[in-house]
């Protein structure tokens, strides 16, 4: 299907979210839409999908002008959309979800699960989207959920697929698998619009790349364009993609000492197994590993959010395990949680309130039980300037901020008090290039101030760029501690559970 967009404009009050957008997607083309968070990519696609009414401009499908009142009409016309946040019923099976709205019936009015499963199996074989039609959504991984969403679109005979940030939630392996699927769909003649802000991915898969910045199309380029140029088009200024840092000067005494830490989860399974790690002041220890290998639980144990079943955790010699989060924070741990929406801030609270969320009770911001609103407001004004938080005012709710600015609020809060240990879990997940650069810089500054830093990330690039030492976790254990310059393939093997080549790492732990 050939998609032509001409002069499409959308305004929200005085704010122009999309300004005279032109875009053409040829049949059988993977077309990347590249732009920072808030550049207007989603607005554009929501107009295309009938979720928003354009103020000006036309959309043509195969030469015919169309205007959709709702997503139903867009689906009818052959447009399929896979949202960033999946819209599946967790307690239903894969087959039930795929056929939702197009239920397969045997006798009139009676559901035929058999037919539904057969249909899903046939579709999944045709496009190489491996799924188990009988599995419940709640039991499958995020990557498979995404395939279910794609199948849903295909069942509706979609000829043009819109994938909204499809890689944001995937592991590196799952991203590779998604690309294989996308190529297969392309070979089958489907057109794909691939929305992203990740430069490597567009180079890997797109035929053409349209860059959007502040609601305007900046340029449409070939994938041969260098990463640096793409980043510059996207952000509007030159950005450094590598992290520059001086060699670490770690302190002699470790700030954080973990020995034999074991965590048992709600199901009674050991998810962290006998982990012993030291982090010294002035160094960054990266924890690499595929998601779900115990990193999350290890960090929670450090924070006092879960009680380790065995082992000890000491900050500057003081035992903090089993004492709760308040004690961990008091001992000087700063925490940037991996799921900031969930654990990092309170969306309905103001920026100012969130900036003191874990130290409102300190003398600077309250006396007794009385909050010192003036100093809380003052603190907010300072942090907003220092961390360049883009917000209408300190009294805006954090919900109204973009993802990058929300992360800046968390970062500003955690870095604004004296720290001994900074724990940053997936600190740049879902952030755009400009914000990533900023976050990395701040983390390194904190290291250079003599703070011990622990980084947990599933992105090897990030681990390699920031860490002074890298601990690899697999199945709840630290399998090895290596130098960040270790070749990617070797790291990948360790992450997949291969035993380390030399026993030196194990002796170190």
């Amino acid at each position: 299907m050939r998609l032509e967009i001409e002069g499409l404009t959308k305004r929200f009050g005085s704010f122009t979210a999309n300004d005279q957008i032109d875009l053409t997607v040829e049949p059988g083309e993977i077309h990347a839409l590249l732009g920072e968070n808030g550049a207007g990519k989603s607005t554009l696609m929501n107009m295309l999908y009938g979720l928003l009414d354009p103020d000006e401009g036309t959309v043509r499908l195969d030469g015919e002008a169309v205007q959709f009142k709702d997503p139903g009409e867009a689906i009818e016309a052959g447009i399929g959309m896979v949202h960033q946040h999946f819209m599946l019923v967790p307690v239903f099976t894969v087959a039930d979800n795929v056929t939702l709205g197009r239920e397969q019936t045997g006798l009139p009015g009676i559901l035929s699960r058999r037919k539904a499963r057969a249909l899903v199996r046939e579709l999944s074989e045709r496009y190489g989207l491996r799924v188990d039609p009988a599995a419940k959504i709640a039991d499958i991984s995020v990557g498979v959920e995404q395939r279910v969403e794609i199948l849903k679109a295909l069942l509706n005979d979609a000829e043009l697929l819109i994938l909204d940030e499809p890689t944001a939630v995937l592991t590196p392996q799952e991203i590779e698998e998604l690309f294989v699927i996308m190529r297969q769909l392309r070979d089958d003649g489907k057109s794909i619009v691939f929305i992203t802000h990740k430069l490597k991915e567009v180079q890997a898969i797109a035929v053409r790349i349209t860059v959007i910045r502040r609601g305007k199309v900046i340029d449409t380029v070939e994938p041969t364009t260098s990463e640096g140029q793409l980043a510059e088009l996207m952000v509007g200024r030159a950005v450094s993609l590598t992290v520059s840092k001086a060699p670490a000067t770690p302190a002699d005494e470790p700030t954080l000492e973990m020995s034999g830490v074991t965590v048992i989860d709600d199901r009674g399974l050991a998810v962290v197994k006998d982990v012993s790690l030291d982090v010294h002041g002035g160094e960054i220890l990266g924890i690499a590993g595929v998601q779900g290998n115990g990193q999350t639980e290890l960090v929670k144990a450090l924070l006092g959010l879960v009680r380790p079943a065995a082992g000890s955790i000491r900050i500057s010699g003081r035992e903090i395990s089993r004492r709760g989060p308040a004690e961990s924070l008091r001992q000087g741990i700063g925490y940037i949680p991996e799921d900031r929406q969930h654990d990092g801030f309170i969306g309905s609270f103001t920026v100012a309130e969130n900036l003191v969320l874990d130290h409102y009770h300190e003398d600077d911001f309250s006396s007794g039980v009385v909050l010192d609103l003036a100093s809380i407001a003052n603190n907010a004004e300072n942090q907003i300037v220092q961390f360049d938080i883009r917000t209408q005012s300190a009294k805006s709710t954090v919900d109204s901020l973009s993802g990058g600015n929300q992360q800046k609020v968390v970062l500003a809060r955690e870095l604004s008090r004296p720290l001994k240990l900074l724990i940053a879990a997936q600190p740049t997940r879902g952030l755009d290039v400009g914000s990533i650069e900023f976050v990395h810089k701040r983390i390194i500054e904190e290291r250079d101030r003599g703070t011990a830093v622990l980084i947990v990330s599933t992105e090897l690039d990030e681990i390699a760029a920031l860490s002074d030492r890298v601990a690899v976790m697999y199945d709840g254990r630290v399998v090895d501690i290596v130098d960040p310059s270790t070749p990617r393939e070797d790291l990948g093997l360790l992450m997949a559970g291969a035993s380390p080549a030399s026993p030196q790492g194990a002796a170190d732990v």
Binding site: S42, L305, L329, H342, F345, I346, L357, L371, E381, Q392
Partner: protein, 398 residues
């Protein structure tokens, strides 16, 4: 926008920011206030239809509507106007009416504040009725048995009522925090328990009027009653003070900050080192205390004895009041006054125009129903709420 904030601050350090803050607050509340007012208007319109169809005289004039439509219509307008006028007069038309309105609003305010506070920490406190009953029992017992100097007697009785309510609410918080027991179930059950305790106590001689077998206590001593002040009993002012206290607690204190944080996002609150258990327990203790205070308004405010109808439906109306007041202290006060006015004006209306008192209950129910369905109100009045509409969209799809 972000560039402007710091520069304004430099020019005019204090005042400018303050006023823009107030303006922003007013701005942010405007849609809510508008929806509430329109809901009241819509409820009155539906109520008008009910008034017309329940009036036999008007209906008889409608029987010859097609020969003389004006006769029926003017009669209809007249009866609606009369009825609402009587309602308004009965609520605010005289010193006595205002007194009745405010004294009815006072217990609703206190109990409503208890529900509001629990809402803010994320708990649905259905138990205001039970907490009120316990408060009333304690306050009444102290009021009619103990012999204390004037003034002190009232204070001790009120404190006893608040403590009893606090215990009854605190149990809920404790069970929730320690065992995860759902507060809705626990509060509903404790309502029954409280009512049965009251009924049992009223069978005991210690709680009955000497020489009588009625399930009815003596009236509390005169020196344990809220003294009159500016034409109303001073419990009204106690209720207002309680509202100021709740407002202060929620917006100005660290404890309130913790409660709001737990209510808005318990995971983030826990990660920030806030104790969820402490917030739950404390909020329910204070909520119970406020409901207990409402109980004292009942027994120490009027010269009414303690009976098993002492709390009536007030504890449940309190939930409605808190919802209508959008779980804010000031909103709760306004909603309680509205309900007090309906209840006080309703009697006058029934006496003057013969419209049944039930109309006010229908009106109350309709107001809350419309507030809960803002899209309906917007479509009836063709209000475009751009801000609210946009927010919904962003939540759903971005």
């Amino acid at each position: 926008m972000s560039d402007q904030a710091p520069s304004t601050q430099q020019q005019e350090p204090g005042e400018d920011r303050e006023t823009s803050g107030v303006a922003a607050t007013v701005q942010s509340w405007l849609p809510t206030v508008r929806i509430t007012l329109l809901s009241i208007l819509l409820a009155l319109m539906v109520g008008a239809v009910l008034i017309i169809v329940s009036d036999d005289e008007v209906l008889s004039k409608f029987s010859y509507f097609f020969t003389d439509p004006m006769d029926g219509l003017s009669a209809a307008v007249e009866v609606v106007a009369d009825t609402y006028w009587a309602l308004l007069e009965g609520a605010f038309g005289s010193a006595g009416a205002i007194q009745s309105t405010l004294e009815r609003a006072a217990p609703l305010t206190c109990a409503g504040l208890g529900v509001t506070l629990a809402f803010r920490v994320g708990l649905f406190n259905i138990g205001a009725n039970g907490q009120m009953i316990m408060g009333a029992i304690a306050a009444a017992y102290v009021g009619f048995t103990w012999d204390l100097p004037p003034g002190i007697h009232l204070i001790v009785a009120v404190i006893a009522g608040m403590i009893a309510g606090a215990i009854w609410g605190g149990v809920v918080g404790l069970l929730k925090a320690q065992t995860g027991a759902h507060e809705v179930i626990v509060t509903i059950m404790l309502n029954y328990v409280a009512l049965q305790i009251l009924r049992w106590l009223l069978t005991l001689e210690a709680f009955q009027v000497p020489g009588s077998n009625d399930p009815k206590s003596p009236v509390v001593d005169a020196d344990a009653q809220y003294p009159d002040l500016l034409g109303v009993h001073s419990g009204v002012f106690v209720a207002l003070l309680a509202a100021v206290g709740v407002w202060w607690l929620l917006s100005r204190s660290t404890v309130g900050f913790e409660m709001r944080a737990v209510g808005a996002n318990p995971d983030a609150a826990r990660t920030a080192g806030i104790s969820i258990s402490k917030a739950y327990i404390l909020a329910m203790v204070i909520a119970g205390m406020l409901a207990g205070l409402a109980g004292t308004e009942q027994v120490n405010g009027h010269e009414d004895p303690l009976t098993d109808g002492i709390a009536g439906e007030l504890g449940f109306d309190a939930i409605t009041v808190a919802l209508l007041g959008r779980a804010t202290a000031s909103g709760t006060v306004l909603a309680a006054i509205l309900f007090g006015a309906m209840s006080s004006g309703g009697r006058e209306m029934q006496a003057a125009t013969g419209t049944p008192l039930d109309l006010t209950l229908v009106l109350q129910a309709l107001i809350v129903l419309f507030v809960a369905a803002p899209a309906l109100v917007r479509s009836v009045f063709r209000v475009q709420d751009r801000a609210a509409g946009g927010a919904d969209l962003a939540k759903g799809w971005s």
